[in-house]
């Protein structure tokens, strides 16, 4: 590395000397030795700092930043390129005379809009992504895991669409104003001459506004009678409605409003495709350019057609381009919805319904050809409750089991409807044929199979994030029972953080049964778990005079408050100082930051490295 750095510096030094000699080409310049030294020192300093900055940035670079940078770069490039397409060539010289730079300012974001509308449909093709994830087994899991960030990318592209729509609309406001003014008010100017073209037979028009209605009514008339104007207004309205119903508040509290309003995207895309059909962006035709050179003829615009060097210029509109960009994603999305529908029609049989305390119930189901991995989720629909709603649930069963299960907690009218439909509110035994039809789509998500590639793991589940670990723990247990020697995993530290365990009594039962089974197998040390009830803290508990023993009979009493991560990590690092410890988290982002920091702090140089997965 030092050698390559030296050679780079030497090369820079030579170039520098050469540049000096070339600049003073006429003279014979002799460079003093001190100058050589100065140049050498300066260039080596420059190069060293640049390399250091590069190394620092790339060490903290997350892999997902790269596609985002590429996307931003493409946006910038398209904007600049199409701006120049309309701002430079002589073909649009007269268009620019009429409209100014607003033409280019409208066409550049239009190109970006084409690009982004192409991209926005792709991240939401869940089944396509699952297919890509499965078939790209050659790529590392790190790359495949980026496919899980599809919704983040979808939102970024949506914001970009909103931004470009704003620029495009504002630029067109100027265009419409200038077109109408050119038609009505400009008298004796070149704008008037250009706008008058098309009035006589045999002429092609440049200014698409033909009626002489003055502004502001003229602008309104244009917007609502021309296809481009009307479709533009409608699709912008659709976009605004989609955006206002997609804010976090609405999405989290009133999902149906978000979901149904979001389907306005169909209107958006249809309008987008027909938006350019009117061909109102006009440029001079090539044949006309041969005969009529705008640079020479623009000065004598009163003489067009009367002198031979400047015949009347002819114009034509550009054909619509948007469909070429969006037709493939639209077809892909159409097939995605077809696949979702077909998959959901596959018969799902509810084999068992288990009623758990505190408004939770478990559905165990079977479906032909259903293959799952640990940590994945499915979408579930219950037509008896609602024909249109699909809700995601993490799978809580292990792949080794012959059924798949989800645990549902009653939080809203859909979950309550399913609860009633499955007869959970009744005491007596339910006939199998009375159970409702369930449609299942999935499974989706990157598997947490990395758990099995470590010897020691720390699993942290916060709140509802504990559900994927049910699947993980069960799968670990099955693998252990099957063939303990083939299981690389030797020790699990499980941290469960929740306000109170009421919501997850079923999980507490699972932990307890695992603990008992491990006791029987004489391997009580395999799984050590700690439950933290963050809704309480020690002082409240002791003054109340009784300790709330939520998990009866558990060998490990629950702890109160939040865990001291630094201590935990230090202990694990010292106990497992020669192996890699995988840390898996399912929970809030703030906790992820904390754990990430602790991982970095407690990781020594190789070979001990704690890597954080979530």
């Amino acid at each position: 590395m030092v050698l390559s750095l030296l050679s780079i510096v030497y090369g820079a030094l030579r170039c520098n000397i050469l540049a000096i000699k070339i600049k003073y080409d006429d003279y014979d310049v002799s460079v003093k030795a001190a100058a050589y030294l100065c140049i050498f020192l300066w260039r080596s300093f420059e190069i060293a700092t640049r390399v250091v900055v590069l190394v620092l940035f790339s060490s903290v670079l997350q892999i997902w930043v790269l596609p985002v940078l590429v996307w931003l770069g493409l946006n910038a490039f398209l904007f600049w390129w199409y701006y120049r397409v309309y701002d430079v060539p002589v073909k649009y010289h007269y268009s620019r005379k009429l409209l100014g730079s607003a033409l280019a300012w409208a066409r550049a974001p239009a190109a970006c809009l084409n690009f982004n509308c192409l991209l926005i449909l792709l991240p939401v093709c869940r089944n396509l992504l699952s297919f890509l994830r499965g078939s790209s087994a050659c790529c590392s899991t790190r790359i495949r895991r980026q496919l899980d960030r599809n919704l983040t990318f979808h939102k970024m592209v949506a914001w970009m669409i909103a931004l470009h729509t704003a620029i495009h609309t504002i630029a067109h406001l100027f265009n419409v104003e200038r077109c109408v003014d050119g038609r009505v008010e400009a008298k004796g100017t070149i704008q008037a001459a250009l706008s008058d073209l098309g009035d006589k037979t045999g002429e092609t028009y440049l200014n698409f506004v033909r009626k002489k209605i003055p502004n502001p009514e003229g602008g309104l008339y244009v917007a609502f009678t021309y296809l481009a104007g009307l479709s533009g207004v409608i699709i912008t309205l659709a976009l605004i409605l989609i955006i206002t119903s997609s804010t976090k508040t609405i999405r989290r509290s009133y999902f149906e409003v978000f979901w149904y309003t979001h389907h306005l995207f169909v209107v958006f895309f249809i309008g987008l495709v027909i938006h350019g059909a009117g061909r109102i962006v006009r440029g001079q035709t090539d044949e006309s350019l041969k005969e009529h050179n705008p640079h020479t003829c623009e000065k004598n615009f009163t003489q067009w057609g009367k002198i031979s060097s400047c015949p009347i210029p002819q114009f034509a509109g550009n054909p619509p381009m948007t469909w070429k960009w969006v037709v493939v994603p639209m077809i892909l999305y159409f097939f995605e919805r077809l696949v979702r529908f077909w998959r959901s029609q596959q018969k799902v049989v509810i084999t068992k319904v288990v009623n758990h305390p505190f408004k939770t119930f478990e559905l165990q189901m079977m479906k032909k050809g259903f293959k799952m991995e640990v940590g994945q989720y499915i979408f579930v629909q219950c037509p008896t409750v609602s024909h249109l709603e699909w809700h995601p649930f993490t799978l809580t069963s292990a792949p080794e089991e012959d059924y798949f299960s989800i645990h549902i907690r009653i939080v809203g009218d859909w979950t309550e409807g399913v609860f009633n439909a499955c007869g959970c509110d009744k005491q007596e035994f339910q006939e199998a044929w009375k159970l409702p039809k369930i449609l299942v789509d999935g499974p989706f998500g990157t598997a947490s199979e990395d758990v099995f590639s470590y010897e020691t793991v720390m699993l942290v589940g916060a709140g509802i994030g504990v559900t994927p670990f049910a699947s993980v723990l069960k799968s670990v247990w099955y693998k252990y029972c099957n063939d303990a020697t083939s299981l690389r995993l030797k020790k699990i530290y499980f941290y469960w953080l929740c306000r109170d365990t009421h919501a997850f009594e079923w999980f507490a039962d699972l932990l307890q049964s695992l603990e008992n089974q491990m006791q029987e197998r004489d391997n009580a040390q395999f799984l050590s778990y700690n439950i933290y009830l963050t809704g309480w803290d020690e002082s409240q508990v002791t003054t109340l005079g009784k300790i709330k023993d939520v998990i009866n009979g558990s060998k490990q009493k629950p702890l109160y408050g939040r865990p001291n991560w630094e201590n935990e990590f230090k202990n694990h690092a010292s106990q497992h100082s020669s192996s890699r410890v995988g840390v898996f988290l399912c929970g809030p982002e703030a906790l992820a930051e904390t754990l990430n920091k602790q991982c970095i702090n407690n990781s020594d140089a190789d070979p001990t490295r704690s890597t954080l997965h979530f």
């Binding site: 504002i170 100027f174 104003e177 502001p216 309104l220 912008t236 605004i240 009133y254 409003v257």
Partner: protein
């Protein structure tokens, strides 16, 4: 959709409409389009709508996320009492504010959006929703013992007579300790 509070969505839509009105108005005024006085009105109306709609109302069920810094505007909006609490008033107000901006192309998008917001507010009003301010909860001093400790007991609890208080002999111990018990030095 039993639990939707339409006012929440109407609020987002109205806030967006305010911003769109302001944007369209600024463009038309700055470029001096024909009929720009309508745009000047649109700016004023847009700012007013934004200020009115910025403080989010309290949801009936569940907790409401406040917008950043909304408590100052909440205090102002609260002062008007029933005028701002009632959604019928808001629906009519937004419909009326939207109309003049409809005469100019730059601001007509704002008109359409505000009109939709007005319609959703009307729906909310029909469903009986109201705007309630999000109050700051007063800081509660944590009660020691959950408020159950009132006075220390004045009398010791009654105890049985001395001879029955003797511990039973160790040989007759009825419990098998699963974990060996070590007696720590007193």
């Amino acid at each position: 959709m039993g639990r939707i509070e339409w006012a929440m969505w109407a609020n987002e839509q109205a806030l967006a409409s305010g911003l769109i009105l302001v944007t369209g108005g600024v463009v038309a005024v700055a470029a001096q389009f024909k009929g720009w006085p309508f745009a000047a009105y649109a700016i004023a109306a847009g700012v007013f709508v934004c200020l009115l709609e910025y403080p989010r109302g309290k949801r009936k069920k569940g907790s409401t996320m406040e917008r950043c810094g909304q408590k100052y505007l909440t205090a102002v909006v609260k002062v008007f009492g029933p005028i701002t609490r009632n959604y019928y008033v808001r629906a009519i107000l937004h419909a009326a504010l939207a109309v003049p901006a409809g005469f100019l192309l730059s601001t007509i998008l704002g008109t359409a959006c505000l009109g939709i917001a007005s319609a959703i507010y009307l729906l909310a009003a029909i469903r009986g929703e109201e705007w309630n301010p999000i109050e700051q909860k007063p800081q509660e001093r944590p009660q020691v013992g959950g408020g159950t400790i009132k006075q220390p007991p004045a009398m010791p609890p009654p105890r049985p007579p001395a001879d029955t208080r003797k511990k039973p002999p160790a040989e007759v111990a009825g419990q098998e300790n699963p974990i060996p018990v070590t007696i720590e030095a007193e």
